[in-house]
């Protein structure tokens, strides 16, 4: 028996519907960089500069864990998401869902925020008594994308990981140090990177990225 936060299942619907329980305002989701007003900045900056940065909208994030019953998890993931659990440092992608390898017994799924509950529930049903864990961590992170011809230079100023396209190629994901924070860094395609940062560090990383990309020209895009 695990506890899934049941109320998750209807909370997201209420984003667009008047909440039936509380008379207070409709619950408003705020991304970690809500205060930075990225959409206003996007309107004010030129596009097509050396680097463009966007904060992605809120997404569902689930941590999957399994060690000795990894096969059971893999089977359930395949059945629910139609993808296989990725191998070391790689990703499995289907539609808007992406499963990232984090550790030999850990993966991170991103999906539409209103799908997370169903996915967790379905996987738990399939895995039954198997030794696995699933944790909803949607609120715990901020997802940024960095694109453009100088994106890799900004990364080289920020992390000691080898981000050369021969090493960090499309589909690869690594957890590493970013400035003085940590990042789950994924190369989406050439000159296009995704950074998943712990929510409380998002403002620091946002500030850092502004400084590191200044010399290349930074444009802000709406995620």
């Amino acid at each position: 028996m695990h506890s899934i936060l049941m109320s998750e299942q209807y909370a997201h619907n209420s984003v667009t519907q008047k909440n039936e329980f509380a008379d207070s305002a409709i619950p408003m989701m705020e991304t970690a960089l809500h205060h930075a007003q990225m959409s206003k900045l996007a309107a004010r900056t030129d596009s097509g500069l050396g680097v463009s940065l966007s904060e992605l909208p809120m997404a569902g994030l689930l941590v999957f864990r399994a060690s000795k019953d990894k096969a059971a998890l893999a089977k359930a993931v395949e059945s629910v998401l139609q993808v296989s659990l990725p191998e070391t440092l790689s990703t499995s992608i289907v539609g808007d869902k992406c499963v990232r390898w984090i550790a030999p017994d850990e993966w991170l799924l991103s999906c539409a925020i209103d799908e997370a509950y169903t996915i967790e529930k379905s996987i738990r049903e399939i895995t039954g008594d198997a030794s696995i864990a699933i944790v909803n961590v949607a609120g715990g992170f901020s997802a940024l994308t960095l694109q453009g011809p100088s994106a890799v230079d900004v990364l080289r100023k920020s992390t000691a990981y080898d981000v050369h396209p021969q090493n960090l190629m499309p589909g690869k994901v690594v957890n590493t140090v970013f400035a003085k924070a940590q990042v789950c860094l994924r190369c989406v395609e050439e000159n296009h990177y995704e950074l998943i940062i712990r929510r409380s560090f998002a403002d620091y990383v946002w500030h850092w990225l502004q400084v590191a990309s200044a010399e290349y020209g930074l444009s802000i895009e709406v995620g």
Binding site: A11, I26, P27, F141, K157, K180
Partner: protein, 1018 residues
């Protein structure tokens, strides 16, 4: 006001043509408050020499006038202070490394009050003995109180430059690189090696300290493949730049070569552009390079010879003279005497001769030199004096003449009377010392090679290749061959292949002259012994003389490392670039042993000085350390919160209103909470999701109390110890489901606790089925506390039965708060009726604001961490890390109730707590304190004594851990750890304070509010 004067000098020493300078770009610069002119392409040193400036500094110890001696990083004398404004001051700039720019302002650092007339030079002339070798030790070791006085005099006289007192307006940054092959040095060898490696497709970085690649090829006038060497350099650079995997850096000094081939490369990006860099461009960039293979092609530094007064302005390295003439079109004098022990020294006489100046003589220390250069000198009609040496230079601020005398074959004594030759410049060459510095940074010791009279890099387990001159190659063709081989070897060691044989570049053709054997000579003999002769300098930057080195060996400092420390030879920014081998030779000679047996000192990073700016990079100011924010941070700012740092978190500390003192605010916040309802942003609490079949068993093992029976829906306080039995962390852990728990930790302990759990699981109990995931950032946590908290919650939460029987103290429930999915925990850190509402962080702000919307009816009062501290202290609740310090067991903390002795597993901390020492009755125990005067608040950390009348040093029996004024209690309250405190209730202890007061306080139970615990259960 400093009066600025235009320089009297008009580049009298500039040649009418030639050099790698752009005469159409005329720069004005200021040196010691006079204006001068130079050209683009000049270094500061070449521009100074072009203007006939002889004296660029005063020496460190003896305050002797010093001039420019070299043309590269090895320069020991021309070390200047650069900067037009206070904010842009940079100390320790070598004039030979600094490119000239328009508007450059610089001044000498030594010399007080001026370089031409120096009061301290009297010390140098008359009282030199007072600052003899070992000066630092002899002077400073005692008496201790004199330290400061001496230091002031030395610092002022030494004038080792100064840092700006203002904020540096420039920015600095770092960049990381991973390469297959790192080539250090862009001379002939380095270029050849980089080209070879690049052709394999390997990732290559090539760094050179100069403004352009080429090294010696830029000024030695040789031909490669039958055309100018400079053409060859250009073609190699063009090819390198065409490869996407090659990074080529100029003005970039490899300052350190660290473990596992990690290199720091300091690129000066804007130093040549102006006093301040262009906006948006960092002034310096520290490249942090991880290389699979490193090719050291660092070349060699020419050794000047050691003779009397060899520090007079006008004494230079032979190669430097050539470099100034050929590269900068500056001839640094009118008449030259060249002294050399080898064929290479002749070139500067030829260069001098070529520009039509007077070559007085070439003094060759060898009796019968026989290389091609000898014939060439004769063909030119230059006077050649063989088997002789310049034994002394004379002059005051510039060489006026030299004494030349015949020497024996070994160069150990004079064999005839000296003659005087008039000249204003003496160039000397004692051979070349390979620049082995980087090879030594991780501990490898260089190896002496008698055949080349120099140290070459020693063995290392790292993947490194020393190539070219640094490895003892003597000719250009050897260097080029070495470069190709090093490139190939590095490529193969990376597991890469060349496509075909053709892609390896052929070794270019070079015509080599016949070279005569060099003579081993370091210290030139004099008519007098070193201690009686005029000073013979070995290390100019540290003012170390041959006599000083002999003195130190006589005094028993025979190991070269001891000589270094006794004399300061090779100290500091110089790192023994020109002087070390000469010094070692003198030690060897004095002790009658070989240089090989004498060995070298250790060369340490950095090779050249690195600014603090480059070390810090962008990690300054707001980016010095990450600041972590909760989802409700914006609200706190908008409502005037003061913040405090808790680890990296910025937590709301208190919320002052207009006109309130901090104590006023705390009184208001604390009272409102106990009277109605207060709210705290507790999102920073560490939260760890624990799942797995053995999750409960795991908790049993890491907590001191019992977890076997905690049912889903229930919460429990947990206390965690280390194996030593000392309290490590605490928090409430809730049972979400049979095999699913949510652990909370202290804000500061979150990361440590998670790592601790992982360590225990992964290394000690891997058989347990359990998973830990940090959910600290996922949850926004807000604590509402006070008698009206239930009422407030009911306004925003309809799907949880809040009835006090249905939702009891230490229960948690799942539901919806203000429309957001939530877990609500009925736990209390204030002793009041209290709910901790957890919602996903993205709903945090929404829920927080919804609570305030409804909170108006209850005077909902936000309180910060300070009131939280007061409120919990009123109940005697501890804060781990404040009331504990790693020496407190649960028993000491009066938490025996949280220690279960009958668990099946010997949980962590159990055995530790039972060590003999932990069972002693006289341990410090956590108790409450009330000062006799209720308005006196004890300072936290104050030390307790039982009898304040005892003589000093008093026996201390404990200290105050927490102390506040409590408005709710109406008096000051405190917690303290006091020896045997739990058995001494009602007794007084005394706190003698630093301000002279002694405060008396009575030991009491540490709970002042609602001791029966009715409130939180209400």
């Amino acid at each position: 006001m400093i009066k600025l004067v235009h320089g009297r000098y008009v580049q009298n020493y500039r040649l009418p043509s030639g050099g790698r300078i752009d005469r159409s770009k005329i720069f004005t610069f200021r040196f010691n408050n006079r204006y001068y002119k130079g050209y683009e392409g000049d270094t500061l040193a070449s521009a100074l020499l072009a203007n006939g400036i002889n004296v660029v500094g005063r020496s460190f110890k003896y305050s002797r006038a010093r001039g420019i001696m070299s043309a590269g990083v090895e320069e020991p004398n021309a070390i200047l202070q650069v900067g037009a404004t206070e904010a842009t001051q940079i100390p320790n700039v070598r004039a030979t490394e600094q490119s000239l720019y328009d508007g450059l302002v610089c001044s000498t650092v030594n010399g007080w009050p001026s370089v031409r007339f120096d009061a301290m030079s009297l010390v140098g002339k008359l009282a030199g003995g007072a600052m003899g070798p070992g000066f630092y030790y002899k002077t400073f070791m005692f008496p201790a109180f004199m330290w400061e006085t001496y230091e002031k005099v030395i610092r002022k006289a030494a004038g080792l430059g100064r840092s700006s007192k203002e904020r540096d307006p420039d920015s600095y940054d770092h960049m990381h690189h991973h390469v297959d092959v790192m080539v250090v040095g862009g001379g002939a060898t380095g270029l050849m090696a980089a080209l070879t490696a690049a052709r394999s497709g390997a990732r290559v970085m090539l760094a050179d300290e100069q403004n352009e690649m080429g090294g010696g090829l830029l000024h030695n006038g040789v031909e490669i493949d039958k055309s100018s060497a400079i053409d060859w350099v250009n073609s190699v650079c063009t090819e390198l730049d065409s490869y996407p995997n090659v990074v080529r850096l100029t003005r970039s000094v490899v300052t350190g070569l660290h473990d596992h081939n990690f290199l720091t490369v300091n690129e000066r990006r804007t130093h040549h552009l102006g006093d301040r860099g262009p906006t948006g461009m960092s002034r310096e960039r520290m490249h942090k390079v991880r290389a699979h293979s490193v090719i050291l092609a660092t070349g060699a530094h020419e050794r000047p010879l050691v003779f009397a007064n060899n520090d007079l302005p006008g004494c230079m390295q032979c190669s430097a003279v050539s470099q100034y003439i050929r590269r900068y079109a500056v001839v640094p004098g009118s008449s030259i005497v060249v002294m050399t022990t080898n064929d290479a020294g002749y070139q500067c006489a030829f260069d001098w001769h070529d520009v039509g100046r007077d070559v007085v003589a070439i003094v060759d220390t060898r009796a019968k030199p026989d290389g091609d250069v000898v014939d060439k000198a004769r063909e030119r009609g230059i006077e050649l004096i063989t088997g002789s040496a310049v034994i002394e230079a004379n002059g005051s601020h510039r060489v006026r003449n030299v004494l030349v005398a015949p020497i024996n074959d070994a160069g150990t004594f004079l064999t005839g009377e000296p003659q005087t030759l008039l000249c204003d410049t003496v160039a000397s060459s004692g051979g070349w010392s390979p620049a082995v510095h980087l090879s030594c940074h991780t501990g490898s010791r260089p190896v002496w090679r008698e055949d080349i009279l120099g140290f070459v890099p020693g063995d290392t387990h790292e993947n490194r290749i020393a190539s070219g001159r640094v490895n003892g190659a003597q000719s250009l063709s050897e260097c080029l061959t070495d470069g190709v081989n090093a490139g190939k070897q590095a490529v193969h060691s990376c597991g890469k292949q060349f496509d075909s044989g053709e892609s390896v570049p052929p070794v270019p053709a070079v015509v080599e002259p016949r070279v005569g054997k060099a003579m081993a000579l370091y210290l030139v003999p004099h008519t007098k012994t070193p201690t009686r002769a005029p000073k013979q300098f070995v290390d100019m930057q540290n003012d170390v003389t041959a006599a000083a080195i002999q003195t130190s060996t006589r005094e028993g400092f025979e190991s070269i490392e001891h000589v270094k420390r006794y004399t300061a030879m090779g100290f500091g920014t110089d790192q023994g670039k020109t002087g070390n081998v000469n010094g070692m030779a003198i030690v060897a000679n004095t002790l009658q042993q070989s240089i090989k047996d004498t060995g070298t000192t250790v060369f340490r990073p950095n090779y050249t000085p690195v600014t603090f700016g480059a070390v810090a990079g962008s990690h300054t100011g707001a980016l010095f350390d990450p600041k972590r924010f909760t989802p409700m941070h914006r609200w706190h700012i908008e409502h005037g919160a003061k913040f405090e740092n808790v680890g990296q978190w910025k937590r709301a500390w208190y919320f002052p209103r207009e006109g309130e003192s901090m104590q006023d605010t705390l009184n208001r916040e604390c009272t409102a909470t106990r009277e109605s309802v207060g709210i705290l942003d507790a999102s920073t609490l560490g939260k760890i999701d624990i799942q797995g079949r053995d999750a409960r068993e795991f908790l049993e093992r890491v907590y001191t109390n019992a977890w076997a029976k905690l049912a889903p829906g229930r919460c429990r306080y947990g206390l965690m110890c280390g194996d030593d039995g000392m309290v490590m962390d605490d928090g409430v852990t809730s049972c979400l489901a049979d095999n699913h728990f949510l652990m909370t930790t202290t804000t500061g302990g979150a990361a440590n606790v998670l790592n601790w759990l992982e360590l225990c699981h992964q290394t000690d109990w891997p058989e347990l089925d359990v998973y830990f995931t940090s959910v600290t950032d996922h949850w926004a946590t807000m604590t509402i506390a006070g008698p009206n908290s239930r009422e407030l919650l009911s306004r925003v939460c309809q799907d949880i039965d809040l009835d006090k029987e249905a939702f009891k103290f230490m229960d948690w429930r799942e539901g919806t708060v203000a429309g957001a999915p939530a877990r609500v925990f009925r736990i209390s850190f204030t002793g009041e009726l209290s709910y901790e509402i957890n919602v996903p962080a993205h709903y945090g702000m929404h829920v927080w604001e919804a609570l305030f919307e409804h909170g108006r009816d209850f005077n909902l009062t936000p309180y910060g961490t300070e009131s939280m501290h007061v409120l919990r202290a009123e109940k005697g609740f501890v804060i781990v890390g404040q009331d504990t310090d790693g020496s407190i067991t649960p028993i000491d903390m009066n938490h025996a109730w949280a220690v279960a002795n009958h668990k099946s597993f010997s949980y962590i901390g159990k055995r530790g707590m039972q060590r003999e020492d932990c069972l002693k009755p006289e341990r410090k125990q956590l108790v409450g304190l009330e000062t006799i005067d209720p308005n006196t608040v004890l300072p936290e950390g104050a030390q307790a004594v039982r009898n304040p009348q005892q003589s000093i040093p008093m026996t201390m029996v404990g200290h105050v851990t927490s102390s506040y004024y409590s408005a709710n209690v109406g008096r000051s309250i405190a917690m303290a750890v006091i020896r045997d405190g739990l058995n001494r209730m009602g007794e007084s202890v005394y706190f003698p304070l630093a301000d002279g007061r002694t405060v008396e306080a009575r030991i009491c139970a540490s709970c002042w509010v609602d001791p029966a615990g009715d409130c939180h259960k209400s």
